[in-house]
């Protein structure tokens, strides 16, 4: 039985901010009276992470991933609930012994001293974590080899490119061999080869050195290649927690059908027909989805209906659909494989309209 390394229990984060009406008048008004607003960034969320896992923390922008990560590291205190690490540390208290065992990289902030070469920051890290010289050199060389970045070691960090800096940030975060690594969008803005190097690096850190990794990323490639388990968050609530296979099965086993109607009347008709078919999930095309479309796209976009159907039923379903409808109702019809992004965005969209609780099991076939 592997040890539970992170235990998140009923974690809640509510930020307090102020609302300000736009413009100068708003600024003047808010100078005197401020209207406080509570942002519920994370609503009571619980999960456990076992040693050696590679977790993908996913969700659309503003879902609360970074907030979650910050609370898990101890960077910000939760409004309520606890995050316990290694079975004994309350992370919000940041005991020193705990801090020695974690590493963190935030794609948007830098830890390296901008004016000094990365090597200096590495040396500081060596002193802080008391890494013996031989080990320090061995680890550093291994990392530098992997990234092929020896030549940039003595250049001020300020003068490195985004990708080079990111690689150095990762090296810094891993030099003291943390047991848990928290990564917030480490591949943001990187080209495919740099992103691939980083993925290789992380995969190795996880498999060879048994570092538990919690990663957030918007790039499905990162998720597909690295994470065996994903935790989906939307609007601060957990909507899925389980193996990526659950999502993968749907990617493999389903087809996406996009029907474009000739006019709004036919669209309603088509939608009715689709809904009456077995095994079909409407992804987009409900009247409630229309609000998301821009007015300028009215003709092209509003007339399309997207639905997912199990691969084995795709022939039967389209046949029924075409038989029931008049040829003039349909302007276009495409059948394609589903991508992992399609499945994720379907889940995110559903979570907006229905309460998240039941999504856990229904959307992905819940292997919780």
């Amino acid at each position: 039985m592997t040890e539970t390394i992170i235990h998140v229990k009923n974690l809640v984060k509510t930020y307090q901010t102020f609302k300000k009406q736009p413009g100068l008048a708003g600024a003047i008004k808010s100078f005197f009276i401020r209207e406080p607003v509570a942002v519920h960034a994370i609503k009571a969320t619980s999960f456990e992470i076992k040693r050696g896992e590679f977790i993908g923390l996913l969700g659309p922008n503003g879902a609360g991933k970074t907030t979650m990560l910050k609370m898990m590291t101890g960077l910000i205190p939760p409004t309520s609930g606890t995050s316990t690490t290694f079975g004994r540390f309350d992370t919000s208290r940041r005991p020193r012994e705990y801090l020695r065992k974690i590493g963190m990289v935030m794609g948007q902030r830098n830890q390296l001293h901008p004016d000094l070469p990365a090597l200096d920051s590495f040396r500081l890290s060596q002193a802080i974590y008391d890494i013996p010289q031989t080990q320090f050199e061995a680890r550093l060389n291994r990392c530098l080899d992997l990234f092929q970045i020896h030549s940039k070691l003595n250049i001020p960090v300020r003068k490195l490119s985004l990708g080079e800096r990111m690689k150095m940030e990762l090296i810094l975060a891993i030099l003291h061999e943390p047991e848990i690594l928290f990564l917030d969008e480490p591949t943001i803005g990187l080209d495919f080869s740099a992103a691939r190097q980083i993925r290789t690096f992380l995969a190795e850190a996880n498999s060879k050195f048994k570092i538990t990794i919690v990663l957030t990323s918007h790039y499905t490639k990162d998720i597909e290649e690295l994470c065996r388990r994903v935790i989906l968050i939307n609007h601060g609530s957990l909507i899925y927690d389980g193996p990526l296979d659950g999502v993968d099965e749907r990617v493999q086993g389903e087809r996406q059908v996009v029907v474009t109607a000739s006019d709004p009347k036919s669209q309603a008709e088509i939608l009715n027909v689709i809904k009456s078919l077995d095994g079909v999930t409407v992804v987009n095309g409900e009247p409630s989805d229309q609000k998301n479309n821009l007015p300028a796209l009215e003709h092209a976009e509003n007339l399309t209906i997207t639905f997912a159907v199990p691969a084995r039923l795709v022939g039967e379903t389209t046949k029924k659909l075409l038989n029931t409808l008049a040829a003039s109702d349909i302007r276009d019809l495409t059948i394609s494989e589903r991508s992992i992004e399609d499945v994720f965005s379907e889940i995110y969209n559903r979570a907006e309209v229905s309460p998240p609780a039941n999504l856990n099991s229904t959307i992905i076939g819940g292997s919780k």
Partner: protein, 274 residues
Amino acid sequence: MADIRVLIRASAVHFGQCLQAALMYRSALAIFVVSEAFAYAGIIAFWYGAANSNPNQAFYKPMALVLYFCLVSFHHGIQHHASSRDIGSDIRLGKLSYSIVRPFPFLLQAGLRSVAFTLTYSLLLAPLVVAAFIFVPDLWTTFCAGILPGAVWQYPVAAAIGLTAGWLVRMVIGVLAFDMAQIWGPDTCFIALYYAASGSVFPVDLLPVWALGIVKWTPMYYMVGFPVLTLMGRLNPVQFQTEALQGCVVVTLTFVILALMWRRGIKVFEAIGI
């Protein structure tokens, strides 16, 4: 014990790197020193003139005034450089984030950074001082005559109290950034008080006795007035001891306030959105 050893080693490395970083801004520092030289010249000329037109001030004869303001400028510059003003932006712009999750106390880091910058400043100032002694006629004799031998051990104590007090006050203002978006309001208030109570714009012991009594309970007095008056022999040994003690009380109180504000601040710290 091992922890302390690690902490000391890390502090040494960090301190060395702060020094390096400070020295990397060499053109900025050079310009700073030149502008400082002009400021010194201006202040000295002004007070020289003022002293000549008003010879009634019993102690502050022209050369004493010049001496006073030479010393003030030096202390003012050091205070300015040692200031912990960066702390506010560290908090607001999220630089604090990584420091919080590393086993190396942030306040220690900030302190070391200030010491490093002070040191760089003092080093850069040295040539300026040497040049002044070489090129200003008789400066050596008049300047040194104004400084009493008894101050040799008193002055370092006074200067240390002053620097600590100054650093702590700026930290307290910086830490306000946990609660407010802009700390320049409190910072401006501080500067006003600094001008009034520190002795940076007029010899502070010219204040009426009652005002001086109040001023000596503020950190600003210790930032500049106290070390300068000590060096000039304006305080007798008993006065010096009393004020040094009083200074220690002020420093301790400021430190307690800072520690409380820091502990509270770190609990409400929301890092930065992204």
